[in-house]
């Protein structure tokens, strides 16, 4: 490492004297600062300074970055069927325009009711949308993203069952979400039991029943990672006494699918990206969490409530803040003491603008177009649709050839055909996941089917 060593030289921006650093290391009982980073795999650690070229003028820098950006394949110059947790729906232009307002676009979210009625009202409206869509009682002001929302849901469920340590998570929950849960709970003494899927792609209910003994919660995703719509009530019947967590990664599906709340689920968490946020790599996205009333005091995160001011006028304030870290210290429900306010605002604008009918229209079109394409692909010789369960807007396609080869072939036709599943599941080398939204035209769907047929034919030769 050629960075300055804080034990021997003073860092320009870190005002700890060398003796202070030494003393702090002694207190925590490690020999060097590097040891504090032991949990980070060596493979991703940089053992040298960044190789930054320059110094350049602004003009030179822009030219260089433009060249770099040109290497990207974007959904703007391809027809994209990528999904798997990030979906390309239409984003009405007024969303970005309103997000740019300085009152909202600040570096930090002001929560003081005296100065922030607009921000608080927007969060309250966002929470109201979540409750209406999920059929549950209390929503928080948002979390970072779908994966961390699931983590917080697991920890919330654990607080409700203090003597149990086992949580069941379906393997058909988004693989990244499951990874994140593993990271969160690895030092908390919790055991994760993963259960598989039945032949139709939905949760294997027999395996689930067998796993329930001693478990405190069950988490399933619907539509699941394969696109299959789960049967909430059948899962609820199989998991008596457990806290049930529904994960929704494709948030426009609420426009047509039955909500989890009235069908036996206690917590609904998920990813709100589909609500007007572009599918940008790395986010920022927005996680949502909605719970039954009985769980509200155990919920993490901020929560905005409606009240009246001294003159009896409607006003908004942070409420149930006694759960939170700044008041509850070490006994807080979570160390989340912020929310993803700007992105939640985008979701609020999207949902307000679409309304009941608009969201339903998005969902119906996405579902119909996906099922149209699924039918077209199913007619192609060699194409298999491995899972028969009903789907919303995403589904698995299998060919006799490696998915990565087929997809590379489709790229020549300017088509991003889907996500290869070999990265996530063993034995799925020939499978890829295809997502369709209201933005696809029939012409694009037909062209995709033709291109898949041609790719298979080329592989055969």
């Amino acid at each position: 490492m050629s960075l300055p060593d804080p034990l021997t030289s003073q860092h320009r921006f870190i005002p700890n004297a060398s003796e202070d650093v030494r003393e702090m290391l002694d207190v925590v009982g490690v020999a060097s600062i590097d040891r504090l980073f032991d949990t980070i795999p060596d493979a991703v650690k940089l053992d040298r300074l960044l190789d930054v070229p320059g110094p350049w003028s602004e003009i030179e820098s822009r030219r260089w970055f433009r060249g770099l950006a040109a290497k990207n394949m974007t959904a703007a110059d391809h027809t994209s069927f990528l999904g798997g947790g990030a979906y390309m729906h239409y984003q009405p232009a007024c969303i970005d325009q309103l997000l740019l307002r300085a009152e909202f676009l600040t570096a930090y979210t002001p929560y003081q009711p005296e100065v922030s009625q607009g921000t608080l009202q927007s969060i309250f409206e966002y929470q109201t949308h979540q409750c209406l869509l999920t059929g549950l009682d209390v929503a928080n002001a948002s979390l970072y993203d779908g994966s961390t929302a699931l983590c917080e849901a697991v920890l919330l469920a654990e607080r409700m069952h203090k003597n149990k340590t086992k949580v069941i998570i379906a393997k058909s929950v988004h693989p990244h979400y499951r990874d994140t849960v593993r990271t969160y709970v690895q030092n908390l003494g919790l055991e994760i039991v993963e259960i598989g899927w039945a032949a139709d792609g939905r949760v294997d209910l027999n395996e689930l029943r067998g796993a329930c003994e001693g478990a405190f919660a069950i988490a399933v995703q619907s539509p699941n990672f394969f696109g299959a719509i789960e049967d909430y009530e059948a899962i609820a019947d199989a998991t008596v006494g457990l806290t049930r967590i529904a994960v929704v990664a494709e948030a426009t599906s609420f426009g047509i699918l039955a909500p989890p709340g009235p069908h036996g689920f206690d917590i609904c968490v998920g990813e709100g990206q589909a609500w007007g946020i572009p599918p940008q790599f790395g986010g920022p996205y927005v996680g949502f969490m909605v719970v039954r009333d009985a769980l509200k005091r155990h919920m993490p995160g901020r929560l905005v409530g409606e009240t009246v001011d001294v003159d009896g006028r409607r006003a908004y304030v942070l409420t149930l803040a006694t759960r939170e870290q700044h008041i509850r210290r070490g006994k807080a429900t979570s160390n989340i003491c912020t929310n993803e306010a700007l992105i939640a605002l985008a979701a609020n604008i999207y949902l307000s603008l679409m309304g009941k009918e608009g969201l339903r229209e998005v969902a119906v079109q996405s579902l119909q177009k996906a099922n149209y394409l699924r039918g077209k692909l199913g007619e192609i010789e060699g194409v298999e649709l491995p899972f028969a369960a009903p789907v919303y807007n995403e589904f698995v396609v299998r060919t006799p050839f490696l998915a990565r080869e087929i997809l590379a072939d489709l790229e020549h036709e300017k088509i991003l055909g889907g996500i290869p599943l070999d990265e996530f599941y063993d034995g799925f080398n020939n499978d890829f996941l295809v997502a369709v939204t209201e933005l696809h035209t029939q012409e694009q769907l037909d062209k995709f089917a033709v291109a898949v047929r041609a790719a298979i034919a080329r592989e055969r030769r």
């Binding site: 005091r297 006694t322 759960r323 509850r328 006994k331």
Partner: protein
């Protein structure tokens, strides 16, 4: 401020009204404690059957000002909890020694009543010193 003579008191401001014949102590927070907390909006209590050692956390009480932990003044098993507090937590304010009781506990070692707790007179002195800070 009311400090009934027939109960014993913990430094953490819980009282125990002990029924020697039954071996059961009724536990709540004192009149002084409820005044200090202000309007109580939520009380979280343990499940019947929970075993507690003296000093264990038995639940929490939330007022408009803060959340505080409740501690078991003596050891034993929880035999009853005051379900009425779910709907009416304000009973803790209006009647802390009566309808605002929190749990009943089968006291496993009655000698703890004298060893660990103060009588009314001692508790009164204690809160005066504490209020002096």
């Amino acid at each position: 401020m009311s400090i009934p003579e027939d109960s014993k008191y913990a430094k953490s401001h819980e009282y125990v009204h002990f029924d020697e014949k039954e071996g059961v102590g009724t536990i709540g927070i004192t009149d002084y404690a409820q005044k200090e907390l202000g309007d109580v909006v939520f009380v979280e209590l343990p499940q019947v059957g929970t075993q507690l050692e003296a000093g264990d956390e038995l639940g929490s009480i939330e007022s408009v000002k803060a959340v505080s932990e409740l501690f078991a003044p003596v050891s034993g098993e929880v035999v009853e909890v005051n379900e009425a507090l779910t709907e009416k937590p304000e009973l803790v304010n209006t009647d802390p020694y009566g309808d605002g009781w929190m749990i009943k506990m089968r006291v496993s070692d009655p000698t703890e009543m004298d060893e660990l707790l103060m009588n009314a007179e001692e508790y009164e002195e204690y809160i005066q010193t504490e209020a002096g800070h």
